[in-house]
Each structure stands twice: as structure tokens, then as C-alpha cells.
Amino acid sequence: MSERTLSGTGVTPLSGVGTVVWYDQDVELDEPPAPEDVDTAAEQARFENAVATAREELQTERERTAEKVGESEAEIFDAHLQFLNDPQITDAVEESIDEGLPAEHATREGFQQGIEQLAAAGGRMAERTDDLRDIRDRLVRILADAERIDLSALPEGTVLLAEMLTPSDTAQLDPETVAGFATAEGGRTSHAAIFARSIGIPAVVGVGDDLLGVEADETVVVDGEAGDVIVDPSAETRERASERRDVEIRSDRVETADGKEIEVAANVGTLAELEGAVAQGADAIGLFRTEFLFLDREAPPDEDEQVDTYVEALDAFPEGRVVVRTLDVGGDKPIPYIEADEEDNPFLGMRGIRRSLGPDAELFETQIRALLRAGAVGDGDLAVMFPLVATVGEVEQALDVVEDVAGDLESEGVDYAMPELGVMIETPAAVFVGDALAERLDFFSIGTNDLAQYVMAASRQNEHVADLHDPSDPAVLRAIDRAVEAAHDGDIWIGMCGEMAGDPDLTELLIGLGLDELSMSAVTIPDVKANVVDVSTADARTLAETALRAATKDEVRAALSEET
């Protein structure tokens, strides 16, 4: 038997191996008895009791989710509670019981009408059918007295498989015993994915129907980095996956063995991830992506909603910095209220700061207003950076917008604070004019994923050129070195917020290159912090110089492996 790989979307850069337990909420019902054999009054009472039990369950799960995941995730249960009390649905169920159906069958029938009604309403309403299905399945399970797997007491080494997991399901998982989970549905921003990241469980979502073919008790590897579920893994694959990390989480700031402080920060893309960042010991937020505020909705968030969001992030790091990146979208991430033409080559087209200074100028101004206001309220120190900058002119225009907004707020008598202002270093152009950019800004942050893509002219998405798209290629390393030099010559700090920053094998090299801050997925923070304290900056500089002299990636690798 050889191993079989199913592909999905990896959500945590962790792997785990374990035994499959299926989480299956579907309950098989027997054929209903003849209507005359049904005790209508007794069935009505059973239905009422089931509703009461469901309400208690939902309230408990709501509290647990609010505590462990976040208030905004918990709000989904308020909608469930409201549908549970919905007279239109309960009337339909009670009618079906009166016609002679047992309570569980009547529940299926009564909810079916509601589901069809919502589906027919289309658009946003159709999405709520999932809520109705959830409540229906809950009631049927209670009525059928079906066993539900206790997710908080899974045997050690379980890999949980499910079609999908709700926030309350994931909130029950214990990272000490659960080796990982995989779901057929869901994306990187699904509740389950966010939760997995925040507590550090290996997870793959969106595997599709292939996942349903995996049997209970099979051994699988969940590779959250590659996004793979590997069934019947070879001994080698298994061993690689089970190298459990045994690293201490430390929330204090770290410095190298010879006393250079390195800020180790987290990249986050939703508010829910802030908690995970704190839990993994992040000193700061080095990249706060704001796209989540704008995606999956019909109208842009207004200024007040944005202020609240940024203040929440700042309050999570009272002693630290929160670097917010302004809206970074392009033709590849469609948003209903943003007009973006389809482009042949979206990564070289209208995206990032180019949109903010062009078609999205109004959104940009609102976002800057919200940021300046939030900076005056939130506890932490706000920094704001612009994505995909290629020219000094773009920076000057963006800074003009910030000045104008500050002037408006001043004359309106609204409290605001000027944040640190910086840019992402993602284009070779920004590297080459780094000295001129540094004169105008407070900091740089290198986005290595895009920088590698643009330096190497190799798409991140195309597997045929994946080998070229490597941030440790000497060409990319030299670009990084040049950006660091420009920053330090201009007396500003420079960080890195690409995936490269979170690779523990590269910590020494990055310190040697002179980075002041490293920002990464929260789960890799403990490993990187543990490595920082062992680094001597002199040795690190020697390593960096060797790597910078390298002609090929292999020579870079050789230099790295000599060190360790």
C-alpha cells in the first residue's frame, strides 16, 4: 500500500500524524410510523423539550466561543437562537406533528420549508440556510437521542475529519490531544481555520469530497504547511510529521547572545488572530492585513467601524507596535463594491497603493482617517504602511493624503495621532530607490513573498516555476541586503513580514542581514524567539556575508548547513 495525498488549503504551518475520527452530525431516521399511531400531544411535548435543550446548548457554546475565540465569532449563535425561536418555523413543525409525524420527522419537514424559503430569497439570505441546517440537525440529534462525539475528550493522537466544523466545535478541541484536523469545506478565513491558527493545531481545510473517502481509524498526516492530507503515510512521512515541537513560549522581548534586541512580531489577518498572537508571545503586530474588513460584504466598512477594529488591535498590544497595512487588493481578489477590470497580469497591474491613489482614493482616505483617529485612542503604538510601492512619487502622494486628512481632523476638532509611516519593500524598484524612500519615511517592512516573485519573475501560484520563487536565492538576499542598507543609512528601522521571517532555519541569516524586526505567523514565534537568543551578531554577519557572496542557491544552502 502506498501513501495517497489529498490537497486542500493549509492553515497552520504545522504537521501532525494521528488516527482518523470522523465527526458526523447526520442522524439516520427510521421510516415514520402511520399517522394514527402517533401520540400528537406527546410529540408536541418532545419537540418543546428539544427546543429548550437546544437553547441551553447554544447558550453554553456561545459563552465558550466568546471566551476562547472571540465575541464576533460568538455572534453566529445569536442568529441560531433567533431561528430556534422563530414562530414561522415552530408553527410549521407543530403543524406537521398535528398531521401525524413524530417530532424528529416533523422537525426535518418544518425546517425544510424555511430553508427553501431562504434559498429562494437569494443573495445574502441564501447563506443563512446553513444556520437553519445547523439548528435542524441539532434538534434532530437531540430528539433522536443520538450520541454526539465529545470533541473536548478525543483520544490522544486523533486527527479529526469533518465536512465542516463550526466555531463551537473548534473551540472544544484540545491542542494537547488533537494531532490535527481536516475539513472538506472551508477556506483560510473560515472560523475553523482562524481558530486552528490561534491555538496552533495542524489543519487543512477545503479538501473537497475526496476527504469523505478516508475511513475512520486510518492513519493520516495533516500537513498544514503544504495543505495536504496524506493517507497511509510511509514511515518516513510519518516521522517527519510527528516531530513535535517542544519549545517554550516566551512573552518577553528577546535579544541575541551579545545583546541586540530583535522584535519578534505576528502577522494577522483578522481580529480573532490577535489572541493567538498574544498567546504565542508576540512582541507586536508586524503586519495587520486589513482586507478582512472589506471582503465578503456588500458595502465598504464605514469610518467608525474601522476605528473600532484598529483600536481593538492596538489595545491587544498595549506595550507594542501594531503595523497596519492599508488595503491591498487587485484584480485577483474581487470585492463587490470595488470596480476592478480583469487583467491579463494582475500582479503587474492595478493593485496595492496604485489603487489607493487611483480608483479607490475615497476608500483610502476613509481608511487613513480611521487610522489616525484610532491612533489617538488605542493603547499600543500605531504604524501604517503602504503596499506595493514602486516610486518616490507614490510615497509623496500617499503622505500628502495623510497630511490632508490630519488637517481635516484638526480643523474638525477630532482627536487624532500621527502614526509611524512606512512602506512594504516588495518591488525591485523600491529596493533601488530605498535611499530616497528612507528619507521620507519612518520604517520599511520587506514582504519576501512578493519581493521574491518580482525579483525572480516567478509567480507564487505557478508550480512549474515554484523552484525559482525562493527568498533564499542569492538575488533575493542581495535585494534584502540593499534594502537594509538603505534603511540603516537613513536611520530608520526595517523589518520583514514575509514567510521567510518565520522560518526558524533562517533566523541567524536574517539577523546577520541586519533586520530589526521579524514578523510571522503566530505559531512560529516561539521557535524564532528560541533561536534569536542563541545568535551572536558577529557570527551571523559572517554567515550573511558568505550567503551574499554565493553565486547559487546551493551555495547559500551550503553556508546555512555549515552553521548548524
Binding site: D78, A79, Q82, F83, N85, D86, P87, Q88, I89, G114, Q117, L118, A120, A121, G122, G123, R124, M125, R128, L132, E298, A299, D302, D304, E305
Partner: protein, 91 residues
């Protein structure tokens, strides 16, 4: 039986938070409460399903129908929900 015609103020229309607030408010009264649009049959104002499937958007008119002792107070409260912008909701 009392009736009142109201124009929807929240930007989101009668969906999501405004809908949920509306149903919540209806549940605080004893009177029989219904909501109707021009083209649709009146639905129970306490039904999230009924209210949301009306698909009422910002700027549209709806008819509120109340029958019971506290009908007037209920209409006042429901009207307030429908005419308050979402940004002014108390948390």
C-alpha cells in the same frame, strides 16, 4: 388594529443586524405584530425567517400592523428600529 408605514433607514436594509434587532424588539411586546411590503403578504414580525425573506432594502417602505393592548408602544419601538442608522445602535 393599527397600521403604520415606515421607510427603512439602515444601509444594510432589513438584513443581518437590523433584522435581528427588529425581531428582538417585536418579542418584547404582547400585541400581534406583522410586517408587510407592497407586493408580499404580511409576515409575523417575530419571525427572523419571515422578516429576512422579505428582502427589504434601504429606502424601501414597509407597513407595520399591530393588534393588541400595547399595539401603539410596539409600533413606536419597531419604527424606531427601522429609522435608526446601524451606526447608532447601542452595543
Amino acid at each position: 388594529m393599527m397600521e403604520r408605514t415606515v421607510t427603512i433607514v439602515p444601509e444594510a436594509g432589513l438584513h443581518a443586524r437590523p433584522a435581528s434587532k427588529f425581531v428582538e424588539t417585536a418579542n418584547q411586546f404582547e400585541a400581534e405584530l406583522q410586517i408587510a411590503t407592497e407586493d408580499e403578504e404580511p409576515v409575523n414580525a417575530r419571525s427572523m425567517l419571515g422578516v429576512s425573506s422579505l428582502g427589504v432594502e434601504h429606502g424601501e417602505e414597509v407597513r407595520l400592523i399591530a393588534d393588541g393592548d400595547d399595539a401603539e408602544a410596539a409600533l413606536d419601538a419597531l419604527e424606531k428600529v427601522l429609522t435608526t442608522p446601524e451606526s447608532e445602535y447601542d452595543e
